[in-house]
């Protein structure tokens, strides 16, 4: 209390008592008592003098006027009273004002001199203090009346030996009290006051209660009668509170044993039974298992032996029944840092209350924000550890708000005050206390609470090292219990006699007291082991009984449909990303920057004379395409790799809501795919622009976008499986390097380790790489469908087939046939083997051959499979191959002529063929897909001839319907018997892979695999 206020109060006292006949000795004594409470001895004199002067006491003494006639209050005093009250209004809280008002009433009633003038002044004071008239009447009656029967108010509770209340609406409890204990609730400020009428020496928090005096009955207070009966604050509050009685809730936990993953016992023999409207603290030395116990009670961990039941429903078995009943606020921040305070709460509410309209949700959110004193901060971004925008206390309150908004009946909080100032801590616990008064059951792990906070708890569970419970009951009694147990002096005093403080530290000092050695040094041995404390606990405490309720626990949860969830998740995430400027900037600028860098570096004067840049002669185009794919993979991975890890905390909280994992993942995909689409588009746009790649923007984009989406899903898989961002980023090279090795450009597929490669076909390991599919799609599409080539592709294809057959295949087959002729009679094994191989080759080649002039009547099966090969047939074939060669030479010339004709036609139409080619056609890429650099144009491998040259003009030769495998750069692929364009086929393959990895993500296969592996490691250590 400040000097100014005390002065004001002294004046008020004086003005009131001077009315109607002046100060009586009793009244003056009351004022002196008051000063003694508030001031140190030396200061009392000054204030008493002030009081005496204003009240006219000095004059009274000297003049001996004893004029007790009723005089009107002087107008000057009236205005003075008014001025004082206005001053008090500016400094004191409403709670303090209530206390002041009660003091004034007590002053008047100290001599029972209730005159109209005096009461009028007190009444005016109460009006200026903005205390409602009804409440004033209640307070006046409570302070001034000594007759229990006159106190007919719902906010009055009488505790006495009687069996029922004396008036209709007043509350009553039975207690062993000589006389009456009267309690009053001032509901506007949630304060309780107590008063005793009778002869006994009752004890309030260790002080004797003077009869007829009003005492503040604060949090954690206890009144004890000489008989030993005790009235606890929490019980009393419950008696006043109707809501608690209407809430149907029972929480019964029997945890016999809980083991950690490594087999160590974490919790043993904890039995907790509670009803609604309780605030329960869990305390213990560090490592005693407080958080573990909280997690078990909340159902996050399953006890090895034991059950947790809410209203009779096992929380592990009847999950559906208790859905939304439990709320959990962990020690970590569970906020979305990029969103504002309001948005955090708003989207959370949207996920909880599908049935509410937009407006109602807004109202609800605003109400919760107001309740928690956050409405001023509602538009501030929550911010991360480094750019804090709201204070620690506000963060904590917001965390609690996220759970409060859906009003779970049981709330668990893990150290909600850690890291907060004592002021903020008190605010948080105040808030929890208020909630408990509304009927919620709240469990709080608390560390080093202040005295005020400690006393606010209704019950305290104290744990000792090794998970042994050592106390479960009234917090203040915990101190006396442990003091008594160790036979300390003064053991029945829980709190400080002068200040009412409780020192919870004392408890731990006693529990953990160490044996002292002969040199006076504390040793490592404890005086009382946790087991001994536990034994003592078992013999001293019987588990209290709670009414076991068997109806559905109260809840207010309405989870939206999956699609709506997806929409909510997506908008929430989208807003969060939008507000993170750095993230947005980096992700949107990354692609254009890389494209510019890459394209700039590889653009050179490529024309044959070295004078200018011509796309056709740029030898870097194949490499550019590979880089584009790597960039797409890289961007896709990095953008997604942290997504789930970052959300993991939020997911933990939302796990109590049973939201759809699928919806969550879909929302992630929507946003990531959108980002990928933008990134790859800007990349292609700028890359193609600089390198003058014409007409390929959309085709390239689609490939890169598909690749990036695939990478997104892979990134999410990794993100869901590992628990740190660092691990995930270390994983990225592991995922990317194989993609580069097996892309098909850096290393020729035909020149890989024999274990992997199949000649003439892309190795199966490479088929697992997206890069290979993407690269093939891009290269083949660019070559085949560019504006120049597309007019001639079909002719060139015919030309190429004819060329191959006439120039290479005809000779090769002829040679094979010659060998058969030469060794017709030979019997040696090695020759026989050669012969059968050659027969096989001739059989396959001829079977699929359209040109059959001269061999129309030959039964190929008869000749090559069933040993029907004779000299005549051999000679016939020899001449056939001559014709074959000539035929295909003619075919080749025809195609070449056709191409020339077509070119001439286009030239006549005004096209500049050379310019077109420079524009759209790239020589290096053409060389690549035509494989012109290869030494062997044709290869014999595994008893078959394989065409190595010109893959891009070949057709697939599937061995069976599902055989999709071909050489690299073939223009078509076999899809279950249908020939599909490579571009489309490859895109389908990548999307198929994306879908596959979405499923592994959905079922969290990678995560499960990783956790199995990590368990394996632990068992190895043992």
């Amino acid at each position: 209390m400040s000097e100014e206020i005390l002065k004001a109060l002294t004046q008020l006292f004086a003005i009131i008592t001077k009315q109607d006949g002046g100060v009586s000795e009793n009244e003056r004594q009351f004022v002196i008592d008051f000063f003694q409470q508030e001031l140190e001895k030396s200061a009392i004199e000054g204030y008493l003098q002030l009081y005496d002067t204003i009240s006219g006491y000095t004059e009274q003494q000297t003049k001996h006027v004893d004029d007790r006639s009723n005089k009107l209050t002087s107008v000057k005093d009236s205005i003075k009273t008014l001025a004082i009250c206005k001053k008090i209004n500016k400094t004191l809280t409403q709670k303090q004002k209530v206390v002041v008002l009660i003091k004034l009433l007590e002053l008047v009633s100290s001599d029972k001199h209730f005159t109209p003038q005096r009461m009028e002044i007190v009444n005016t004071v109460s009006t200026v203090f903005n205390i409602a008239q009804e409440e004033y009447k209640l307070i006046e009656a409570f302070v001034t009346s000594d007759q229990v029967g006159t106190l007919n108010y719902a906010d009055i509770l009488i505790a006495d030996e009687g069996t029922q209340s004396t008036t209709p609406i007043q509350k009553h409890i039975h207690a062993h009290v000589a006389g009456h204990l009267i309690f009053m609730r001032v509901s506007s400020v949630s304060m309780f006051f107590a008063k005793y009428i009778g002869e006994d020496a009752n004890n309030l928090n260790g002080f004797i209660m003077k009869p007829s005096r009003v005492y503040l009955f604060s949090h954690g207070s206890t009144i004890k009668t000489p008989d030993g009966a005790a009235l606890y604050y929490s019980d009393l509050v419950a008696d006043f509170n109707n809501e608690i009685h209407t809430t149907k809730l029972s929480f019964i936990a029997n945890v016999d044993e809980y083991k950690f993953g490594n087999g160590v016992i974490g919790i043993r023999d904890v039995k907790i039974a509670e009803g609604p409207g309780k605030l329960i603290g869990i305390m213990g030395a560090s490592g005693a298992g407080k958080t573990t116990l909280l997690n078990i009670l909340a159902g996050l961990e399953k006890p090895g032996k034991g059950k947790i039941k809410v209203n009779g429903f096992d929380i592990h078995k009847d999950k559906k029944k208790v859905e939304g009943v439990i709320g959990f606020v962990s020690q970590d921040d569970l906020l979305i840092e990029e969103l504002t305070v309001y948005q955090n709460l708003y989207y959370n509410a949207k996920l909880c209350f599908a049935q509410l309209k937009e407006e109602e949700i807004h109202k609800l959110v605003m109400k919760v924000l107001e309740d928690l004193g956050l409405e001023q901060r509602k538009d501030l971004k929550v911010g991360g550890v480094l750019d804090k925008q709201i204070s620690g206390g506000q963060r904590k309150r917001l965390n609690i708000a996220l759970e409060l908004i859906r009003e779970p009946a049981i709330l668990f909080l893990d150290e909600p005050t850690s890291g907060l100032s004592s002021r903020d801590s008190e605010n948080v616990i105040d808030l929890l206390k208020e909630l408990s008064l509304k009927g919620k059951l709240i469990f709080v792990v608390i560390h080093q609470p202040s005295s005020d906070i400690y006393k606010m708890f209704d019950k305290m569970v104290i744990m000792d090292t090794g998970g042994y419970p050592t106390f479960y009951g009234n917090p203040v009694e915990a101190v006396t219990y442990f003091k008594k147990a160790t036979h300390q002096v003064d053991s029945n005093r829980g709190q400080c006699e002068v200040c009412g403080n409780v020192n919870p530290e004392q408890i731990f000092n006693i529990i953990e007291a160490k044996v002292v050695d002969e040199y006076g040094q504390p040793s490592n041995k404890r005086k009382v082991t946790p087991m001994q404390w536990h034994e003592m606990f078992k013999s001293n405490f019987k588990a209290s009984r709670v009414e076991d309720i068997h109806e559905q626990p109260p809840r207010s949860l309405h989870i939206p449909s999956r699609i709506k969830q997806t929409i909510i998740f997506t908008t929430r995430d989208f807003l969060a990303k939008l507000s993170n400027k750095q993230y947005l900037l980096i992700n949107l600028l990354e692609a254009p920057l890389l494209a510019t860098l890459l394209a700039f570096v590889i653009k050179y004067k490529s024309a044959p004379g070295g004078k200018e840049y011509i796309f056709r002669y740029n030898e870097n185009i194949p490499a550019f395409m590979l880089m584009a794919i790597i960039v797409a993979l890289f961007m896709g991975l990095t953008v997604s790799a942290e997504e789930i890890i970052r959300d993991r905390k939020i997911l933990k909280r939302e796990s109590f809501l049973n939201l759809s994992w699928n919806s969550y993942l879909q929302s992630k995909l929507i946003i990531l795919f959108l980002l990928s689409a933008i990134q790859t588009f800007t990349f292609v746009l700028i890359g193609n622009l600089i390198l003058e790649i014409h007409g390929m923007t959309w085709a390239f984009w689609l490939v890169l976008f598909t690749t990036s989406c695939f990478a997104n899903v892979i990134g999410l898989n990794v993100s869901s499986a590992f628990n740190s961002a660092v691990t995930v980023y270390v994983m990225i090279p592991l995922l990317l390097i194989p993609q580069m090795i097996l892309s098909g450009l850096l290393f020729d597929f035909d020149k890989l380790n024999e274990l992997l490669s199949t000649k003439g076909k892309v190795p199966v390991v490479a088929d697992l790489m997206t890069s290979r599919w993407a690269y093939e799609a891009m290269a083949v599409h660019q070559f085949k469908n560019n504006e120049f080539q597309k007019h001639y592709y079909d002719y060139e294809r015919d030309e190429s087939i004819a060329d191959f057959k006439s120039a290479y295949l005809a000779d090769e087959l002829k040679r094979k046939n010659q060998l058969l002729l030469d060794f017709l009679e030979a019997k040696s094994d090695s020759i026989q083997k050669r012969i059968s191989v050659n027969k096989n080759i001739l059989y396959t080649e001829l079977r699929n051959e359209r040109f059959r002039e001269g061999i129309e009547n030959l039964n190929l099966t008869e000749v090559f499979i069933k040993n029907g090969y004779t000299k005549e047939i051999g000679l016939l074939l020899d001449s056939y191959f001559e014709n074959y060669k000539k035929y295909y030479q003619k075919q080749y010339n025809k195609s070449a002529a056709l191409i020339e004709k077509k070119m001439a036609f286009y030239e006549s139409q005004g096209f500049n063929i050379q310019q077109e080619k420079n524009h759209y056609y790239n020589e290096s890429l053409a060389d690549l897909v035509k494989n012109t650099t290869t030494k062997d144009r044709i290869l014999e491998y595994n008893g078959a001839l394989i065409q190595i040259i010109n893959p891009v003009f070949q057709s697939p030769k599937p061995g069976h319907r599902a055989d999709y495998r071909t050489a690299f750069f073939l223009p078509e692929k076999n899809l279950m018997g249908i020939l599909v364009d490579t571009y489309i086929f490859n895109l389908l393959v990548i999307w198929g892979m994306t879908l596959f990895f979405y499923l592994t993500l959905y079922f969290e296969l990678l995560k499960k695999g990783v956790s199995i592996l990590s368990k394996f490691n632990i068992s190895l250590k043992k």
Partner: protein, 120 residues
């Protein structure tokens, strides 16, 4: 705007509030226990007046006596005057009534409206 006129009674003062005639006067004594209902129409009238006031408003207070509860109402009245530009309070008191003079001075400190003290 209708003028408000309340004649004085045993426990309540007389009220004369007239916008057109520019008369604003409270006079007599106020001893009533609960003055709120009595002053309610006065406060209402002033509120309405404050939406469209005269260029200058001189409220004359001429009390013989008022009790504590009434002092609260007076303060509320003066608070409304604070919102009216060009308003002034003329505080009239019997020449030898020091109490009344001093209470006027204390009130003047609680509000920002200028006071003029006139003994009679």
């Amino acid at each position: 705007m209708h003028p408000l006129t309340i004649p004085s009674a045993e426990l309540t003062p007389a009220i004369h509030l007239n916008k057109e005639k520019e008369t604003f006067l409270i006079e007599g004594k106020s001893l009533i226990d609960d003055p709120t209902p009595f002053f309610k129409p006065v406060i209402q009238w002033l509120h309405e007046y404050s939406t469209d006031p005269n260029p200058s408003t001189v409220l004359t207070i001429k009390f013989e006596y008022y009790n504590t509860a009434t002092s609260r109402e007076l303060l509320d009245l003066f608070k409304i005057l604070e919102t009216i530009p060009g308003s002034k309070i003329v505080w009239q008191f019997l020449e030898d009534d020091e109490d009344m003079e001093e209470s006027g001075q204390e009130l003047a400190e609680l509000v920002s409206v200028p006071f003029e003290f006139q003994p009679y």
